[in-house]
């Protein structure tokens, strides 16, 4: 049976178990003289019966789904004759997909050897057997659970406490998904990065000045040296981030100050949602805007001034990214500015300071840690931003600080390396994971520092 129908079946049995447990508890109570003799409400007997029936089966199903593919693959590959046996993992995955295609009838012809045909046959057979075995095992688990759950129901069974315990464990499991996600991220980038650093030394990667990830397909090919020096990418990323910050920080900060200190209430009610719209626009839309409107406009402007502006200039990508980040900074700054106590402002105003002097000399210094934290978060966001740079920045890794030229960024390279054809043992593909690791570590550090700064500041006034 298909996994989806198995899950549906389990759900059906779950309902059955719940109803059965509930009815059973009611009938026991009736024989004892009334529902008040029951330890818990009938609902909890039903719930407990449901847990007994469904949870073990679900755990079994999860384990099966985790190991099904590798189990069947190993079984099939081991039955192959020695000369067909794949020597490494990529050959093996190729062979498995070939076998799948043969089994599905998508790959036919005389070129397929008898051994392969037999193996494909075995593959389908094993898959079928596997489906039957798991269906049978699940059904017996369910049956056993139904029976046990039924037998356990007694007058003095504390079903509420027990089932609440189970619910609590389920809730905790849900909460720990965040931990598993982090672990998953670390493992997925770390493992591939280690693979990558086996062929390219970490020092070459971090300090190398040249980036050209095209590796030679044939040994005698020219111009495909496969250089993995990531400095040009870092510089490109920093350049675009810097341009974005130059635009976003003053604009965002000044609009936050204006909105929180000067603007009338009616103005706030209009401008704030408008800024939120700016924050809610998908990055791919900004990318389109940057690539098709801002970049050509800058190019024309540059031409009329006699400057040569690349059509994929860092300036266009950075400027649009800055626009994207304005609402981010302004909302964070707004929060910290409004958190500054009134008494500080009033004290300053009472001493005869003008409003701007109060803001600059009293409010701003008090809000500074929060603002710094917000800017750091914005920097981390700019570094990790992908779509704008993929669409508006270039692919060529130039080591330059000229904003009118084309630069490339870490995220652009990750996308470029991973959206083509991939093979999972070439340094070209693995390099993307090494870049991902760098990105993860840097943004994590920035976030950590930013959250720390913000938190420390908040403790002062709360």
């Amino acid at each position: 049976m298909q996994t989806a129908s198995l899950i549906l079946l389990l759900a059906g049995f779950g309902v059955l178990a719940f109803v059965q447990g509930r009815l059973r508890s009611l009938s026991i109570a009736r024989h004892a003289g009334g529902i008040r003799f029951l330890n818990s409400l009938p609902f909890y007997y039903g719930l407990q019966s449901l847990f007994w029936t469904v949870l073990p089966a679900l755990i079994l199903l999860a384990i099966w789904l985790l190991f099904r593919n590798s189990l069947i693959t190993t079984l099939v590959i081991n039955t192959l004759p020695a000369d067909l046996m794949p020597s490494n993992s990529s050959e093996q995955s190729l062979m498995v997909s070939q076998l799948h295609n043969i089994a599905a009838g998508a790959l036919t012809g005389d070129a397929i050897s008898v051994e392969m045909l037999e193996a494909a046959d075995r593959l389908t057979r094993f898959e079928r057997i596997g489906r039957w075995v798991i269906s049978g095992a699940l059904l017996s688990f369910v049956g056993l659970g139904l029976l046990l759950g039924y037998r356990r129901i007694q007058l003095n069974l504390n079903a509420r406490v027990q089932s609440e315990q189970v619910v609590k464990i389920i809730l905790m499991a849900c909460a720990s998904i965040a931990i598993f996600t982090t672990i998953g991220i670390i493992f997925s980038v770390l493992f591939e990065s280690i693979q990558f650093f086996k062929s390219v030394s970490p020092a070459d990667f971090v300090f190398g000045l040249e980036w050209s990830p095209q590796t030679a397909i044939r040994a005698d090919q020219v111009g495909s040296s496969g250089l993995f020096g990531a400095i040009p990418l870092f510089v490109g990323t920093l350049l675009i981030t810097l341009i974005a910050m130059v635009i976003a920080v003053p604009t965002g900060l000044m609009s936050a100050i204006y909105l929180s200190e000067y603007a009338s209430k009616s103005m706030r009610t209009w401008i704030k949602p408008a800024l939120e719209i700016l924050a809610g626009i998908p990055t791919v839309v900004y990318g389109f805007f940057a690539a098709l409107t801002v970049a050509p406009a800058l190019r024309n402007m540059g031409e009329s001034l006699g400057l040569s502006v690349s059509s994929e200039s860092a300036l266009a990508a950075g400027a649009v990214m800055g626009i994207m980040i304005i609402p981010f900074i302004s909302s964070l700054a707004d929060d910290v500015i409004t958190a500054v106590p009134r008494s500080l402002r009033e004290g300053s105003l009472a001493m005869g300071a003008t409003q701007s002097e109060t803001i600059l000399n009293v409010v701003f210094p008090a809000a500074l840690p929060g603002i710094v934290g917000g800017v750091l978060l914005a920097v981390s966001r700019a570094i990790g931003e992908t779509m704008i740079v993929v669409m508006a920045a270039g692919l060529a890794a130039n080591l330059t600080a000229n904003p009118l030229e084309t630069v490339t960024t870490v995220t652009v390279q990750i996308v470029t390396l991973l959206t083509g054809d991939q093979e999972f043992d070439s340094p070209k593909t693995l390099a993307a994971f090494a870049l991902g690791l760098m990105l993860f570590v840097v943004t994590l550090a920035l976030n950590f520092v930013a959250l720390h700064v913000v938190k420390k500041y908040r403790e002062q006034y709360d």
Binding site: L171, A178, S255, G280, T354, T411, I414
Partner: protein, 425 residues
């Protein structure tokens, strides 16, 4: 004397200070104005570029449904229908329209006026209505995208002729004079899948893909997010594990989305061998990405439920979990739903992680299930924006308008929910 000087000095410095004050205010106004200008520029740019895509150019042709011409003898014979030369019908109609065209090259130019989907459309019409056989009809057929671009720019008074030949322009001018060229509502844009031909491309496939992906995302991230929030707010003991979970959630909220794509690629596709390009994987990745948002907003919603409610329930003998399930959760639900919708809006606009898991493939078919290969709206926008054809600029902007419309709808729903259902204590 000195008093007077001092007063003068103060007067002057006051003037200066007031000027500085005024300047400062203007900086603020400029900043707000700049942000609003950017918003305005973005919207005007996209709407002015994309509004045209909702209408498409059609050519009126007199088509004779002549079976001999296409090489079909029997309408019931499927093989024959499949291999028939349906384009012959529109070609004949074009030749009838412009009988003076004789040369091979000229004819080929002439045939390029209509979309290459015309033959297929005619065959569909014929299959739907076999009575048409042998009859002649005046019908509107879809024009090629270059013709579409030309006609729209011609209507705007600034014809774009670079992709057309002189002959074609002459024919088109004649068609315009005969009123055989007009703009019609572009239904294909909403009912068709992706296509290499701009005039045939539609967003339906991408919309379905987005819908399926969002369904998976919502089904996973909303219950799990609520469960996590309940655990952290109501049950979690103050210990290292709880702190660790909180640190993780806060950090995940700020991890760049592309990293989640790497996770999906390495774990879901390479390790678990789940199907590539499928909404299932997209939904899994996006739900991991939106989980922190859902958890954080749900926790805020739970925190907003006043302690008096909890205390009243406990006072009446409810267990801790009964308090949560019977009282806190229903009261916090509107806030949680708002958070869930905001998380979904975030997921709907997300592109980068989906590029990593192969949802960038060129997919014509409209997906029907969560394991069918599919693409989503933002990725479709990305793909079209990359296409060299000029007509795709219009399509891309129109697709962006569709995407923004959905986002605005979702946010409006969130605001409505918050206003309508949330109680102030």
């Amino acid at each position: 004397m000195t008093d007077f000087n001092q007063a003068e000095r103060i007067q002057q410095s006051l003037k200066k200070r007031y000027r500085a004050e005024l300047r400062f205010r203007w900086y603020g106004r400029l900043a707000v104005g700049f942000a609003m200008l950017c918003l305005l520029a973005l919207f005007t740019d996209i709407i002015s570029k994309g509004i045209g895509a909702f209408r498409t150019t059609a050519i009126s042709l007199e088509v004779t449904y002549d079976l001999e011409q296409v090489g079909v003898t029997d309408l019931a014979n499927k093989d024959e229908l499949l291999y028939a030369d349906w384009d012959a019908l529109s070609k004949q109609a074009l030749r009838n329209q412009f009988p003076e065209v004789t040369g091979r090259k000229d004819k080929r130019e002439l045939y390029r006026l209509v979309s290459n989907a015309t033959g297929f459309e005619l065959s569909k019409a014929l299959k739907a209505n076999p009575d048409l056989v042998g009859k002649t009809e005046q019908i509107w057929v879809l024009a090629d995208d270059d013709i579409d671009t030309w006609y729209k720019s011609w209507l705007a008074g600034n014809p774009y002729e670079e992709r057309l030949t002189e002959n074609q322009i002459a024919w088109l001018t004649q068609l315009v004079a005969d009123q055989k060229l007009n703009l019609q509502f572009n239904t294909r844009f909403f009912t068709g899948g992706d296509s290499r031909e701009p005039e045939q491309a539609g967003v339906r496939g991408a919309l379905m893909g987005s819908l399926l992906t969002l369904a998976v995302t919502f089904l996973l991230s909303f219950p799990i997010g609520i469960a996590s929030a309940i655990y952290l707010e109501e049950f979690a003991p103050k210990n290292r594990l709880t702190d660790f979970i909180e640190v993780n959630i806060n950090n995940l909220a700020a991890v760049p989305s592309i990293i989640f794509g790497l996770l999906g690629l390495a774990i879901f596709i390479n390790f678990f061998e789940l199907p590539r390009s499928a909404p299932l994987i997209g939904g899994l990745v996006l739900s991991l990405m939106t989980l922190p948002t859902v958890i954080i907003t749900s926790r805020a919603a739970i925190k907003a439920v006043p302690p008096s409610i909890r205390e009243a329930a406990i006072g009446l003998g409810a267990s801790q979990q009964q308090v949560v399930w019977h009282h806190v959760l229903p009261l916090a639900m509107p806030g949680m739903l708002t958070g869930g919708i905001i998380g979904m809006a975030q997921a709907l606009g997300e592109t980068a992680p989906l590029l990593m898991i192969g949802m960038v493939a060129f997919i014509v078919d409209i997906p029907n299930g969560v394991t069918d290969p599919a693409t989503v709206l933002p990725v479709q926008i990305f793909l079209w924006a990359d296409s060299p054809e000029r007509a795709f600029v219009e399509k891309t902007s129109a697709a962006i308008m569709v995407l923004l419309a959905f986002l605005i709808l979702m946010n409006a729903a969130a605001i409505y929910l918050r206003k309508r259902l949330e109680k102030r204590w």
